[in-house]
């Protein structure tokens, strides 16, 4: 439950709406609700998100 104020950003991966709390700091990771990508806060003013580097989980059989 977001307690602080949140800004809504577009996910760089899927353009989904990602809520980011206003007190976020660079380097933190937020998660896109729609595509579940992990996004790194690469800048705070203005807020900038980038796809976090990701160990490709092997999801197969």
């Amino acid at each position: 439950m977001p307690t602080a104020e949140t800004t809504v950003e577009a996910c760089p991966e899927c353009e989904g709406r990602v809520g980011v709390e206003s007190e976020v700091r660079a380097g933190e990771i937020v998660e896109c609700p729609e595509c579940a990508a992990e996004l790194e806060v690469v800048g705070v003013s203005p807020l900038m998100l980038a796809l976090a580097p990701e160990a490709d989980e092997d999801w197969g059989e």
Binding site: E13, C14, E15, G16, E34, C35, A37
Partner: protein, 341 residues
């Protein structure tokens, strides 16, 4: 508070209708019709309703008038029954296959028997609020598409309406054993049906015609019975006019579904449940839709999952009733589903 009746109430769709309607705050279940079990308690065959109702089954000819009548009888049984029941109800919602196709010729081709009430076909509104909400709000007769047809329609529609589909689509459906209904037949025996990957319709599945009618897209459909009681999934391979990437496709889905109460877009990069899967939808009215893209071959793989007895049947019908009555669309359909399951 309206009064409703369920015909075919001893079957699997009928039982699911009772489950949903008995807990629906605007509805009183006035009759649950069974020809075999008239006089018996409904919880005799639907044990989940124990302690929830003292309702007993009514004989078909004892059926009176009701605000809404839901008809969930077996294949082709509706041909005769539905026309007779229309006068019993302000609104009739048919869950069978007999009034889904507008073209009686297609009906005969796919069902192997001539349609005996072709003049009525035009009067049924397809029971898909996502595509026919306005017409459903005033409909007197509603025909629910088949469960895998609903899933396919919802999976394909954002692509079809955007005009990006480049040719025939293949639809690979998978479904659990409740899709065969309540009758005891050899092929539905536990020892035979358990663990199968049974391609019961390798080509020309009947839902092809429904999908084409609803989306304008030619579909070639096969279907497989897999190990599950509830649940249906469709995997649609869609040739597209130009290479489309995930973002492009997501934008199309979002346009159609972002305000839909029962369609969720599931296409994720991580986690265990990245694309739509039926098991977490058991008992819910969701149809989850998702996709993957292969720009190299200009293909989109569109996927949808639902509970065949709920969004693919009884739940969809209740949603249509809600639309018809002007009630909030989610009334009686709030169950979120379970995990793990």
């Amino acid at each position: 508070m309206i009064d409703v009746a369920v015909v075919g109430a001893s079957g699997y769709i009928g039982g699911e209708l009772l489950r949903l309607l008995l807990d629906h705050r605007e509805v009183r279940v006035g009759a649950a019709v069974s020809t075999r079990l008239a006089g018996s308690r409904v919880d005799r065959v639907h044990p989940n309703l124990r302690g929830r109702t003292d309702l007993t089954f009514t004989a078909l000819d004892a059926l009176g008038d009701h605000d809404v009548v839901f008809v969930a009888v077996g294949q082709t049984a509706g041909l005769d029954l539905v026309p007779r029941l229309r006068e019993r109800a302000k609104c009739l919602i048919d869950l069978g296959a007999d009034f889904r196709l507008r073209d009686p010729g297609l009906y005969e081709r796919y069902y192997g028997t001539a349609h005996t009430a072709p003049e009525l076909l035009g009067s049924f509104v397809p029971g898909v609020p996502e595509t026919h909400r306005a017409e459903l709000a005033v409909a007197d007769a509603v025909s629910m598409p088949g469960c895998m047809a609903v899933a396919s329609i919802l999976a394909l529609r954002p692509l079809a309406e955007a005009g990006v589909v480049a040719g025939a689509v293949t639809v690979d459906g998978r479904i659990g054993s409740s899709g065969s209904g309540v009758r005891a037949e050899q092929m539905n025996l536990h020892a035979e049906r358990s663990g199968t990957m049974r391609l019961f319709a390798p080509t020309n599945h009947r839902h092809e015609a429904e999908i084409a009618q609803a989306t304008g897209v030619r579909a070639r459909m096969s279907a497989t019975g897999v190990e599950a009681v509830r649940g249906a999934q469709v995997v649609c391979r869609v040739p597209v006019r130009e290479p489309l990437g995930d973002k492009d496709v997501r934008r199309l889905y979002r346009q159609h579904y972002q305000d839909e109460p029962f369609v969720r877009i599931i296409a994720q990069r991580r986690g265990l449940y990245r694309l739509p899967e039926p098991k977490i939808l058991s008992g819910t009215n969701y149809c989850d839709v998702g996709f993957a893209t292969d720009p190299d071959t200009s293909t989109v793989v569109a996927v949808a999952a639902l509970d065949n007895l709920v969004k693919g049947g009884a739940g969809g019908a209740v949603q249509c009733m809600n639309v018809r009555m002007g009630w909030p669309e989610h009334l009686g359909l709030e169950f979120p589903g379970l995990h793990p399951v």
